[in-house]
């Protein structure tokens, strides 16, 4: 299992890294939010890493994690049906971040060294604000706008943080787990 990237980041910023894993071969580093910009710059500029492509920025709302209904059981017999046996991995997944509702997930790729790294930044509900990566990657602009649009996570230093897929008058953040999937909102537009 290749853990060279995790090692490079955690050697350089021992105080910033809160957890690491390589579940299914994806190298992942969980960080404290205040170090994000610094580490992103290191990833981009360090000659041994050169992660020049910011592939994706997204978020996950972990507030409903593990709360989905248990598998159905045969009521008449009382025999519960267990879920399928899990197919294990060498390095188990550590689970969702503790004490944080959201996790903002960054995927980086290096075109020189052909390696990938994922950064996971826990964001508590009380302080949904992160540093923007727009000074380093122009592509972060729209990706962060989408995270703001869908999850309501602010990015400080972003030049133009407004909704992107939804319209301005839309209320709420549709990909949060407490937003009902069948909720309807009036369409805003000129009256014909």
């Amino acid at each position: 299992m290749n853990t060279s990237l995790i090692k490079a980041v955690s050697d350089r910023f021992p105080a910033a890294v809160s957890a690491t894993h390589t579940y299914r071969g994806d190298q992942t580093v969980a960080l404290r939010p205040e170090f994000l910009l610094e580490i992103a710059q290191f990833l981009k500029e360090d000659p041994a890493l050169q992660m020049n492509l910011l592939v994706d920025v997204t978020a996950v709302d972990y507030s409903a994690f593990g709360k989905s209904p248990a598998p159905a059981f045969f009521a008449s017999s009382g025999v519960a049906v267990r879920p399928s046996t899990q197919i294990p991995d060498e390095d188990p997944w550590p689970g969702p971040p503790e004490k944080a509702r959201f996790a903002v997930v960054y995927h980086f790729y290096s075109m020189h060294h052909k390696h990938r790294l994922r950064l996971v930044v826990p964001v508590p509900e009380s302080e949904t604000e992160l540093t923007s990566l727009t000074p380093l990657w122009a592509g972060a602009d729209w990706l962060e706008r989408e995270v703001w649009d869908m999850y309501g996570i602010r990015f400080s230093g972003h030049p133009n943080l407004k909704r992107i897929l939804m319209y301005k008058e839309f209320e709420g953040y549709p990909l949060r787990k407490d937003y009902p999937v069948n909720k309807r909102q009036p369409l805003i537009g000129p009256v014909n």
Partner: protein, 452 residues
């Protein structure tokens, strides 16, 4: 009277900027993009792109249905090359499960992905040419695409919304003698490409409109996260199929064409060459594909009608049907017991059994029920994975988080044309208003994956 009119008109020394609103109801904007450009004369000073007109909540819906239920939604992401989306999603979930499909299944997926890629590029180049006045090329290319879609229809039963891949395999095996019609279709495509090349590549009008417009440097393109033919036209060599090979791409011969200037003309040339390379991949894959199983078990001979098979199984007369083949609806053709071994992973917790087993024995019936009953279904272990494939527009990635239940906890698509669209203001600023059309055409914006 005359003096009053001239007083309202701007004088020669006065300059005024004009704001022009293009789209969403503009044919060149494909009905779903709004561009607000500030013009100084004909020159674009600033551009603002508004997207989201086709937002359908793909990511939210994916959290509400089972893992296999997401596949029809992925068809509608990039409706020109849905098979690549199918494949990307299925491979992401397979990675989450920690399983790998049989080699023949990999080959089938690769063959169909490349056929879709050719179709996608034909649409892009054809539409760009049409928007610049070369209507003939558009018609030729759409006709060639039709012959490719006939191939897709032969295999999947549908032209566009194919829903062909399954988590752990594909719906059905290739039809017998698929190589024959494939060669015929490619002959047609090659003829059209040669004709279009003659009509466009040295056509004065086309070259003048494409050369030097919509230019972007490799550094800027990487900074915007642009991938695919758009990035390769700038000279940066990044192709997921070569650099992070998946399925069987590392065993197939192909080259990655790159441009030098990163303008519309280079993108056109890169796409034209990629189509040729895709055909090369398909031809090599059809040659190297491991053989599948025979269609009918020779011992039992004739296929048995499904209802008769169910009756025999209920009475326990399984000797006569145990090796047999069921006569099922034509939509299930190619997914019989024999073919199952080469198209699906051997993992009972993931893939539905062949119909012969579901009808003919209790184990098969239980396997079927365990996978389709509400609250049971396919349950990957807890975890998160990201899996990229090379879509027709660039890196198409799926990030899937599972909480161990039968619905995905989070499905995120990394749409390739999202990054390109975010660079559109940069591409357009400083250009003439007429350059919007070829530049926007070469972006190959697909509303389904852009707005999800």
């Amino acid at each position: 009277m005359e003096t009053e009119q001239t007083a309202e008109m701007p004088t020669d020394s006065e300059k005024r900027e004009m704001m022009l609103n293009i789209g969403p109801a503009h044919p060149a904007m494909h009905g779903i993009i709004r561009l607000v450009v500030d013009l100084d004369g004909e020159q674009i000073q600033n551009a603002d792109v508004e997207i989201g007109f086709l937002h359908r909540g793909f990511e939210k819906m994916s959290e509400e249905v089972g893992y296999n239920g997401v596949i029809p939604y992925t068809d509608r992401l990039n409706y020109v090359s849905p098979l690549i989306n199918n494949m990307g999603y299925c491979m992401a979930v397979e990675k989450l499960l920690g399983i790998s499909v049989p080699e023949r299944c990999h080959y089938i997926r690769v063959i169909l992905s490349e056929i879709s890629r050719i179709g996608d590029h034909l649409t892009c180049v054809g539409a760009t040419a049409m928007e610049l006045g070369a209507f003939t090329v558009f018609l030729y290319m759409i006709k060639a695409r039709e012959s490719l879609w006939d191939l897709v229809e032969m295999v999947t039963g549908a032209r566009m919304t194919v829903s062909y891949c399954r988590v752990g395999g594909v719906k059905a095996d290739l039809p017998q003698d698929f190589a024959g019609p494939c060669a015929e279709a490619f002959q047609e495509v090659r003829k059209v490409l040669a004709e279009s090349d003659g009509l466009l590549t040295r056509n004065r009008i086309f070259v003048d409109r494409m050369n030097g417009t919509g230019q972007i440097s490799a550094e800027d393109a990487i900074s915007y996260g642009i991938t695919g033919p758009f990035l390769r036209a700038t000279g940066a060599e990044y192709d997921v199929r070569k650099d992070c090979p998946y399925a069987v791409y590392d065993q197939l011969p192909f080259e990655v064409p790159v441009g030098t200037r990163g303008d519309n003309m280079d993108r056109y040339l890169v796409r034209m060459e990629e189509m040729e390379q895709s055909m090369r991949i398909v031809e090599a894959a059809l040659r190297d594909i491991p053989p599948g199983e025979v269609l009918v078990n020779p011992e039992t001979g004739q296929p048995i009608p499904a209802a008769q098979m169910v009756d025999l199984a209920k009475m326990g007369k399984i000797e006569s049907i145990s090796g047999g083949c069921a006569l099922v609806a034509p939509t299930l053709e190619g997914a019989g017991r024999g073919q199952h071994r080469s198209i699906a992973v051997d993992e009972k917790r993931v893939f539905l059994p062949p119909k012969e087993d579901a009808y003919g024995n209790i184990e098969g019936l239980m396997q079927q029920f365990k996978l389709v009953m509400l609250g049971h279904g396919l349950r990957p272990p807890e975890g998160e994975v990201y899996f990229p494939v090379e879509g027709a527009n660039g890196e198409l990635g799926f990030y899937v988080v599972s909480d161990g239940s039968d619905n995905a906890y989070r499905v995120r698509v990394r749409p390739p044309c999202f990054a390109i669209m975010s660079a559109l203001p940069k591409l357009l600023t400083g250009e003439m208003i007429a350059d919007i059309v070829p530049t926007f055409g070469s972006v190959n914006m697909i509303g389904g994956e852009l707005d999800r």
